[in-house]
C-alpha cells in the first residue's frame, strides 16, 4: 500500500532565535511510504525543524503543508490531531501507569468530559501494543521495562492516533546493535503502512540502512539531499563531518621510571546486585596521557567516580602515594585530582566568565588571571562568549567550558569523561587540537575515557580497553588496531 503523493511538504521554513538563524529557508518533501533521514551535526537546526513541524515552536516564515493543508504555526495539539505523531528522544513516562494505560492516553479524545474508557479504545490499545511488540509487557509499569521497550512504548503513543506523518528523534540512541535491528523493523512497518516517516539523527551512517533519502543540514542551511550513498559522497557533507584529518602527533617517549601517580589495585564496584567493575587495576605515571576505551555501559564512568571518591568501592586506590579510601570527594579534588564529568555539570545560569572564576577561587588574583589568559588562548571561543550564560552555549562550547573549568583549578591529574559525547566532528577537531596542546606543552596527566576510538587514540601514550567491568587489553595505541580494534573501528 505504498503511496507516492507528498504527505508532508516543507517550503522556505525559517526560524530565528535573536540574531541567530537556526533554520534558513529549508524546503523538503516526504511522501507517504517513504523514510526521510534529516541529518546534521549539533547546532545544524535539524531538531528545530522537527519542533517547527510539531508546533512546539513557531516558524518566522515558510509553510508546512500536511496533505495540502498549511499547519505552520499551529499549536502542537492541533498538529497532532491533524495527523502528525512524534517520538521524542527523551521522554518521561508516568510511573504509576502501565504500558497499556500509556497507549490509551495516546488514544484519548481532547475532551474534558471523557470519564470512562470505551471497550473499543481498550481493544485498540491492546492491538497497538501487539503491533509494536509490547504484547507481553503491556500490564507492566514503565520502571520495570528495558530501555528498548520504553522506546517502543513511545512509538506506540505516537502512532496511536494513526498519524500520516511520524517524526522520530534520534531513533537508535542508547540501543544495542540487536535492538537497533528490531527497532528498524518497526520503523519499516510504519513506512509500509503508507506513513511518511522523518528520522532526525546526527550522521548518515546511523540511519543509512533504513532511509530512502537523506536531507543534510549544517548551521541552519541545506547542504545536500539524495540517497544515503550520494549524500555520503557529497563534498560539502564530507568537509562538514570529517573536517581536516585528525593529526596524530607523536611525542618523544616519556621517561617512565617514576613512581605511579595513580595506582588502582583490584578495584570492584557493585550497584546492588549488578557488578559494575571487577578487579580492575591500572597505573598512571606522571605526565602520561592514558585513554580508557570501552562501549556504553562498560564501566568507564564508574571507574572515574570511584577514583574521584564519589562512590563506595572495594580495593585500593592510591594517588600520589596516599590511600584514598578514607578521603572524601572534596579532599580528593583539593589534592589535585579533578574529574570532568560527561554530563559537564556547568552552572547554566552563570556566565562563562563566572563559571571559570568559581573554579579558580582557590588561586590568588594574579595566578587566576594568568590561568584565565592561558585558557582563553587554548579555547579562544570562550573569550568571545565570556558574558554569555553557560546554558545558552552550543554543545561543543559547553564541553570546552567544562574542560576549561577543570583546568582553572590547576589539576595534577585530569579525568576526562567522554568529552566527545554528542558533539559534531568539526568540534571534535578543535577539542583534539586543544588536547594535543595540553599534551605537548604542559605537565598535566590525563585519563581520557572514550567510546570514540578515533578520537581517543591519537592522544594516548597508553590505552586500556574496558569491557563488562573488566580491563581486557592494555598497550600502546599503535598496537590497538591490530590487537583490540576490530570491535571499535
Amino acid at each position: 500500500m505504498r503511496q507516492t503523493e507528498a504527505m508532508l511538504s516543507v517550503n522556505g521554513l525559517t526560524k530565528r532565535f535573536g540574531g541567530l538563524v537556526a533554520v534558513n529557508e529549508i524546503s523538503f518533501v516526504v511522501k507517504g511510504g517513504e523514510i526521510l533521514g534529516l541529518i546534521g551535526p549539533n547546532g545544524s537546526g535539524k531538531s528545530t525543524v522537527m519542533k517547527l513541524i510539531m508546533g512546539v515552536t513557531k516558524p518566522d516564515a515558510g509553510s508546512i503543508m500536511l496533505k495540502g493543508q498549511n499547519i505552520a504555526g499551529w499549536p502542537s495539539n492541533r498538529v497532532a490531531r491533524a495527523g502528525i505523531g512524534i517520538v521524542f528522544q527523551h521522554s518521561r513516562p508516568l510511573h504509576r501507569q502501565t504500558v497499556l494505560e500509556h497507549i490509551k492516553l495516546g488514544l484519548l479524545p481532547d475532551k474534558l468530559t471523557t470519564f470512562f474508557m470505551s471497550r473499543a479504545l481498550d481493544q485498540r490499545a491492546r492491538d497497538i501494543a501487539h503491533l509494536v511488540g509490547l504484547g507481553s509487557v503491556m500490564d507492566r509499569l514503565p520502571g520495570t521495562l528495558a530501555f528498548a521497550d520504553l522506546r517502543r512504548m513511545e512509538v506506540a503513543k505516537a502512532i496511536a492516533r494513526n498519524p500520516d506523518v511520524v517524526l522520530i528523534d534520534e531513533p537508535f540512541a542508547g540501543l544495542t546493535a540487536g535492538e537497533v535491528e528490531d527497532f528498524s523493523k518497526l520503523i519499516r512497518t510504519l513506512r509500509d503502512e503508507g506513513r511518511a516517516v522523518l528520522l532526525v539523527d546526527h550522521n548518515v551512517k546511523s540511519v543509512a540502512a533504513l532511509v530512502d533519502r537523506v536531507f543534510a543540514m549544517y548551521l541552519g542551511n541545506k547542504i545536500a539531499e539524495g540517497t544515503a550513498e550520494t549524500v555520503i559522497q557529497d563534498e560539502t557533507v564530507r568537509r562538514v563531518y570529517l573536517g581536516g584529518a585528525l593529526e596524530v602527533a607523536q611525542r618523544p617517549a616519556l621517561e617512565l621510571s617514576g613512581e605511579s601517580m595513580l595506582s588502582v589495585s583490584n578495584l570492584s564496584v557493585n550497584y546492588g546486585k549488578a557488578v559494575a567493575l571487577q578487579n580492575v587495576s591500572l597505573h598512571i605515571r606522571e605526565r602520561e596521557f592514558v585513554s580508557v576505551v570501552g562501549l556504553n555501559g562498560a564501566g568507564k564512568t564508574t571507574l572515574f567516580n570511584a577514583i574521584s571518591g564519589m562512590i563506595p568501592y572495594q580495593g585500593e586506590i592510591k594517588f600520589l602515594g596516599a590511600n584514598q579510601q578514607t578521603s572524601s570527594a572534596a579532599e580528593i579534588a583539593q589534592s589535585g585530582l579533578i574529574q570532568c564529568p560527561e554530563t559537564r555539570e556547568l552552572f547554566g545560569q552563570l556566565s562563562v566568565g563566572e563559571n571559570l572564576e568559581i573554579a579558580g577561587l582557590r588561586l590568588n588574583t594574579q595566578d587566576r588571571q594568568k590561568q584565565l589568559d592561558w585558557l582563553f588562548d587554548l579555547f579562544p571561543i570562550l573569550k568571545s562568549r565570556i558574558d554569555q550564560a553557560a546554558a545558552t552555549l552550543s554543545g561543543g562550547e559547553q564541553q570546552m567550558l567544562a574542560i576549561g573549568r577543570c583546568l582553572m583549578a590547576k589539576p595534577k591529574l585530569l579525568l576526562l569523561d567522554e568529552p566527545t559525547l554528542g558533539l559534531a566532528p568539526v568540534i571534535l577537531e578543535q577539542l583534539s587540537k586543544a588536547l594535543e596542546r595540553l599534551r605537548q606543552t604542559t605537565d598535566l596527566t590525563v585519563i581520557l575515557s572514550e567510546q570514540n576510538v578515533t578520537f581517543a587514540l591519537p592522544h594516548a601514550d597508553r590505552v586500556y580497553v574496558v569491557e563488562h567491568g573488566q580491563i581486557v587489553w592494555v598497550g600502546p595505541p599503535e598496537r590497538f588496531a591490530q590487537e583490540a580494534g576490530k570491535d571499535y573501528l
Binding site: 508546533g55 498538529v79 513516562p93 492516553l105 481532547d110
Partner: protein, 308 residues
C-alpha cells in the same frame, strides 16, 4: 499489583468511612468538633492535590480560594441577609472565578514563578480584608449571623457528607481519562501537547474544579464557625498546613490527603499544651514522615506489605 493496591485502598476507605459514620455514637462533642474542622481541611487538601499531584501546579494560594468562598458567603449573609444556600453557591462561584484568575499566570509561567504569583494573591487578599474592615470585619473577623445547624452531631455529618462527596468526585476525576491526561500534562506539557491534548484547557479545568471544592468547603466552614477570619482562613500558615496535609497523606492519591489533613488538625490540637512549640513539633513530625516515606501515610499503608 495495581489491583491489589486498589483493593487494599478500597478496604481502607470502607473501614474509615464506617468508623467515621458510627463515631458520634461513642464520641464526645469536642472530638466531633475537631473532626468537623478536619473534614473541611481534608477537602482543601484533596483539592490542592488535584492541582499539584495531577496538573503539576504548585499552588501556594489555597487560602486565597478559601478566603473567596468564606468571605463572599459571609458578607452576603451578614450584610444582605441572603439565605445560606445562595451564600454558599455564591462563595463557590467566587472561588471558581478566583481559580480562573490564578490559572491565567499558571498557563504562562513555570514552576517557582507561578508559585510566587499564588503567594502574592494570598498576601493581596490579606491586605484587602484588613483595609476593607468596614465590610470584611478586618483583623477581628467577620461575624456571620446564620448557622446551618447547632447540634455538633449534625455539623459533623454535614462535614463528613461534604467530604465524601467532594472526595468521591475528585477521586473519580483523578482516575478517569481526564485525570490521566492531567498527569501527562503535569509530567511534561510539551509531550502532552504533541499527543494532541490542549494543555491550557485541561489546566484551566483542573483549576476550576479545585477552586470550586475549595471555595464551597470554605463557605461551609465559615457558617460552621460562625465567623470568617484572616487567621483561620487566609493566613499563609493555614495554606502551608493544607499543603503539608496533602503531601503527608500521600501526594497524587487524593484520598491520602484526608489522613494528612486530619492528622494536621488533630496533632495541632493535641499539642496545644506546648503553646507555640506545637507548630514546631507538628512540622518536625511532618518532615520526618516525608523524609522516611515520600509516599506519605497512604503510601506506607498500601505498600508496606509488598516491600517485605
Amino acid at each position: 499489583m495495581t489491583s491489589l493496591v486498589q483493593k487494599r485502598l478500597f478496604w481502607f476507605t470502607a473501614i474509615f468511612l464506617i468508623a467515621a459514620f458510627f463515631l458520634p455514637v461513642y464520641s464526645r462533642a469536642y472530638v466531633l468538633g475537631l473532626l468537623t474542622v478536619g473534614f473541611y481541611f481534608a477537602i482543601f487538601s484533596m483539592s490542592w492535590d488535584l492541582l499539584f499531584g495531577y496538573a503539576g501546579e504548585v499552588n501556594f494560594g489555597p487560602t486565597f480560594l478559601i478566603g473567596l468562598g468564606a468571605y463572599t458567603a459571609g458578607i452576603l449573609n451578614s450584610r444582605y441577609g441572603l439565605a445560606i444556600p445562595w451564600c454558599i453557591a455564591a462563595g463557590s462561584l467566587a472561588a471558581v472565578v478566583g481559580g480562573v484568575i490564578l490559572a491565567l499566570p499558571a498557563l504562562r509561567l513555570k514552576g517557582p514563578y507561578f508559585g510566587l504569583i499564588t503567594l502574592v494573591a494570598v498576601l493581596l487578599m490579606l491586605n484587602v480584608v484588613v483595609v476593607g474592615a468596614s465590610v470584611t470585619g478586618g483583623e477581628i473577623g467577620l461575624t456571620i449571623p446564620d448557622v446551618i445547624a447547632i447540634d455538633p452531631v449534625a455539623n459533623y455529618y454535614i462535614a463528613l457528607a461534604l467530604m465524601v462527596v467532594s472526595g468521591g468526585v475528585l477521586f473519580f476525576i483523578s482516575r478517569s481519562p481526564v485525570g490521566l491526561i492531567l498527569q501527562a500534562i503535569g509530567q511534561n506539557s510539551v509531550e502532552a501537547a504533541a499527543l494532541g491534548f490542549n494543555v491550557a484547557k485541561h489546566k484551566l479545568a483542573a483549576f476550576v474544579v479545585s477552586a470550586f471544592f475549595t471555595g464551597m468547603a470554605g463557605a461551609f466552614l465559615a457558617f460552621y464557625l460562625g465567623t470568617a477570619s484572616v487567621g483561620t482562613m487566609i493566613d499563609v500558615s493555614v495554606g502551608v498546613q493544607i499543603i503539608i496535609g496533602a503531601v503527608l497523606g500521600g501526594r497524587r492519591t487524593i484520598v491520602g490527603a484526608v489522613l494528612g489533613a486530619i492528622f494536621m488538625i488533630a496533632a495541632g490540637e493535641a499539642l496545644r499544651p506546648f503553646g507555640t512549640l506545637s507548630t514546631f513539633i507538628v512540622s518536625l513530625i511532618a518532615l520526618i514522615v516525608i523524609m522516611v516515606a515520600p509516599g506519605g501515610f497512604l503510601g506506607l499503608m498500601l505498600h508496606r506489605k509488598e516491600r517485605n
